[in-house]
Amino acid sequence: MAITCPYRPSHADPIAHVEISVCEQRLLENMEGGVAYENDLNLKATELRLGLPGTDCTKEEQAVSGARNNKRPLKETSEECRAKGKSDAPHDDQGTATAPKAQIVGWPPIRSYRKNNLQPKKAEAEAAAGMYVKVSMDGAPYLRKIDLKVYNGYPELLKALENMFKLTIGEYSEREGYKGSEYAPTYEDKDGDLMLVGDVPWDMFLSSCKKLRIMKGSEARGLGCGCETDLDFLMQHVSTCSGINRFIAYEKYVTFQSDLDVQEMSSMIF
């Protein structure tokens, strides 16, 4: 297979003629010399030699490496701020792990639409598996499980719970919780505390809810109602908290109980 060269350098560029014949020879060797995928290239024999024909070999090599060295530092300094951590010239050790690279603007060349679709999608894909939590109801013999991900917000969730357990929970209010209902939807959060459903934003709820519990009767009324001055309710609330939250709850309610002896109170609670 003859390699024809359509490229005709101008007569003012004799060096190019040499380069071309070297290139043709090298390409011929590469393509036809049976270079299999597994074999190494015979690099020494095909090394680029720039310079006029008949010039000394070593001088040419020096000229080549010299030209290369001149340009490389320049390239690196101008790109320093753009591409920190870019691996150095080919003379680095093979197989060293590349240092964490700074982000180069516009690299890799992927459309922003595609890039934006990847990262959030990855997180979504992980979350897409569903978020099943147990739901217990006071007095019921067995628990249920629901996937919180299918609901867009509290109203949907509460409706689903109402349907599942055939009861009425009613509407949430910040002051009074689920007043008017004998049920109160609660959940156990990451800290192990029993919280009223509806207090925090939906997304925060999704990330902190570990299990749901539908409380019934007097216990349900205790949470979230405005009877903070009643010591019984106070004790009940404090006792449902654990750890540091118990102290915090205790402290909060103590401020309303300035008449009571603090010691007396602490002995009753703890």
Partner: protein
């Protein structure tokens, strides 16, 4: 030929459909120019600033369909500021004013506003087709205008656009009397759509052949749609999330079984991979598969799916398929012509495929013509083997995630590998390179890439000679885009006449100076030489010796554009 009456020539020219061929026809002689221009209906303008809309209207009075491109290609990678330009409004306004009977509009990388969409919907009673690719500047309100007013709407195709979603009812705006829809693609919309309206739309569109849904369309609706549209040829699945209960899943399988015409499958924007087996029924007939937006599908699931796709011609996937997965592709998809492997983790900079996968593809798929391959590493030996196995490449784009990485085995530059590609693939029209590259590779390209039309280079070359070899050699070069290469004024100014034979040249983070650009602009009045000065790098009174960060030049008959923002200077 002068003895033929005009009508006969017109009739003959009707059979000449490609724009290039029609351009050639119009250059034969003056009468042919006149006739061809008077009857050409489809026009392609590769750079919206190369010519004024008035001139296009004047030359092609029969204009019905136009494809306009705006921003330079590197705008895709955030290298061009958003408001650089590419506004389509002046074109639409000119068409409306001159009573052009516009029926089809296709835009790529342009800015189109809601007002413009509304103007389109009101000004062209026969408007049938709107295709927007990588565009921005509009919201779903603009889509609502198109939906409401275009009574004969056949095609609404939104590909990878940045659309502000007002969560409106745009889909419901398509009137009940509109039954002409053939193609609907809203996969890129982020918000909800009225699902009931979507179902009704599908039910009253007997000609619907292409439907691509967005992530807000859940599985049960998909199943209902498929039951109503068994003649679909192109399907883009939206959401595929929740593990469906057995009833919904069975219904889906039944629906899919009825779709005997689906040849192209895409989407799976949210996915629960265990349900993919439902689609194995469609796989044997598929010629096109795009799973590049489905990072939720793991490599093993991908492979299972692909084993059924023996007729595949086009495949777009993520690199999580791995080299082993690509071996499966190579052994299964013998008709494969185009493949694109995208990185699933571009932020960290790790790709899951290497030269091994590329070589496997070249061995197994001899019909391969077009490839875009993001990989972790490459070797010269691999590229040489690929070049030998696949001499038919017309498009070859290789992106190593570390842009200056040398041959992973020999630590040499990748000049030889790419040299082999351009030498062997005589029909190569488009090339993108990466990895460590010296001037040598440009010598090869200049020597052998005779058909090359578009070349993208980054972090390559040593001296001006590299660029000079290119400009000297590639006679058919139309678009050249260069970033972060050490090419300076000597290269830029070597052959200024060449730029008039090209559509455009982009150079960023190179060694060219303001003085060089000014000199070029002075010599070539029919080029717009734009300096993009975002980040206020340059002051007005800048020294000519200062380096230019971003330069974009293009040939034009329209002179300096009047809509350039402050940070763009046309020299």
């Amino acid at each position: 030929m002068n003895y033929f009456p005009d009508e006969v020539l017109e009739h003959i020219f009707d059979f000449v459909t490609s724009q290039r061929d029609r351009n050639s026809v119009s250059q034969v002689c003056k009468p042919w120019y006149k006739i061809e221009s008077s009857c050409r209906q489809k026009v392609f303008v590769g750079n919206c600033y190369a010519i004024s809309p008035e001139r296009v209207i004047e030359r092609f009075p029969g204009l019905k369909s136009i494809f306009l491109k705006g921003k330079p290609h590197f705008a895709d990678f955030n290298l061009v500021p958003h408001d650089w330009g590419g506004f389509v409004y002046p074109w639409i306004e000119a068409f409306a004013r001159n009573n052009v009977g516009l029926e089809e509009l296709k835009l790529k990388r342009m800015i189109i506003s809601d007002e413009c969409l509304e103007l389109i919907s009101r000004s062209f009673p026969n408007f049938k087709s709107l295709v927007l690719v990588s565009c921005e500047g509009f919201t779903t309100d603009g889509l609502a205008a198109i939906a409401s007013n275009c009574r004969f709407l056949r095609e609404l195709d939104l590909q990878e656009n940045d659309v502000e979603d007002h969560r409106g009812h745009w889909l419901s705006c398509i009137p009940d009397t509109c039954t002409s829809l053939v193609s609907l693609n809203f996969a890129c919309l982020k918000g909800d759509v009225n699902l009931a309206a979507l179902e009704r739309l599908v039910a009253r569109s007997p000609n619907l052949r292409s439907l691509r849904l967005n992530h807000a369309v859940p599985l049960d609706i998909l199943q209902k749609i498929l039951m109503r549209a068994p003649h679909l040829v192109d399907l883009g699945v939206g959401s595929y999330v929740h593990d469906p209960d057995s009833e919904t899943y069975n219904k889906l399988v039944t629906a899919i079984r009825r779709c005997k015409s689906v040849k192209s499958l895409s989407g799976f924007l949210d996915v629960a991979p265990h349900c993919l087996s439902a689609f194995h029924l469609i796989c044997p007939r598929l010629t096109s598969l795009n799973l590049s937006y489905a990072p939720g599908i793991h490599g093993t699931e991908l492979v299972k799916l692909i084993r059924h796709c023996r007729k595949l011609q086009r495949l777009w996937i993520l690199d999580c398929i791995g080299d082993e997965g690509l071996e499966v592709v190579a052994s299964t998809c013998k008709d494969l012509q185009e493949i694109r492997v995208f990185p699933s983790d571009p932020f960290v900079g790790n790709a899951a495929v290497t030269e091994v996968g590329l070589v496997a593809l070249s061995r197994g798929c001899p019909k391969l013509q077009s490839i875009l391959y993001f990989c972790q590493q490459m070797t010269n030996a691999a590229l040489i083997t690929v070049a030998k196995n696949c001499p038919n490449f017309t498009r070859f784009r290789l992106c190593i995630l570390d842009p200056t990485k040398p041959d992973a085995v020999t630590n040499q530059p990748l000049d030889e590998g790419f040299g082999a590609i351009v030498h062997s693939c005589k029909g190569l029209r488009r090339l993108s390179m990466s990895g460590q590259l010296t001037d040598q590779v440009f010598l090869y390209i200049g020597m052998y890439a005779e058909q090359l039309e578009m070349l993208s280079i980054a972090f390559a070359g040593d001296t001006d000679k590299g660029m000079q070899y290119l400009l000297n050699g590639c006679k058919k070069l139309r678009k050249l885009e260069i970033r972060d290469c050490p090419f300076g004024n000597a290269a830029l100014l070597m052959d200024v006449g060449k730029y008039e034979t090209m559509r455009s040249l982009w150079m960023s983070s190179c060694e060219i100076t303001l003085g060089g650009c000014k000199s070029l602009a002075k010599k070539m009045p029919r080029l717009n030489v734009e300096i993009i000065n975002d980040n206020d790098q340059m002051e007005v009174s800048a020294d000519d010796r200062q380096k230019v960060e971003k330069m974009y030049l293009y040939r034009t008959l329209a002179g300096q554009r009047k809509d350039a923002p402050e940070f763009v200077w046309t020299l």
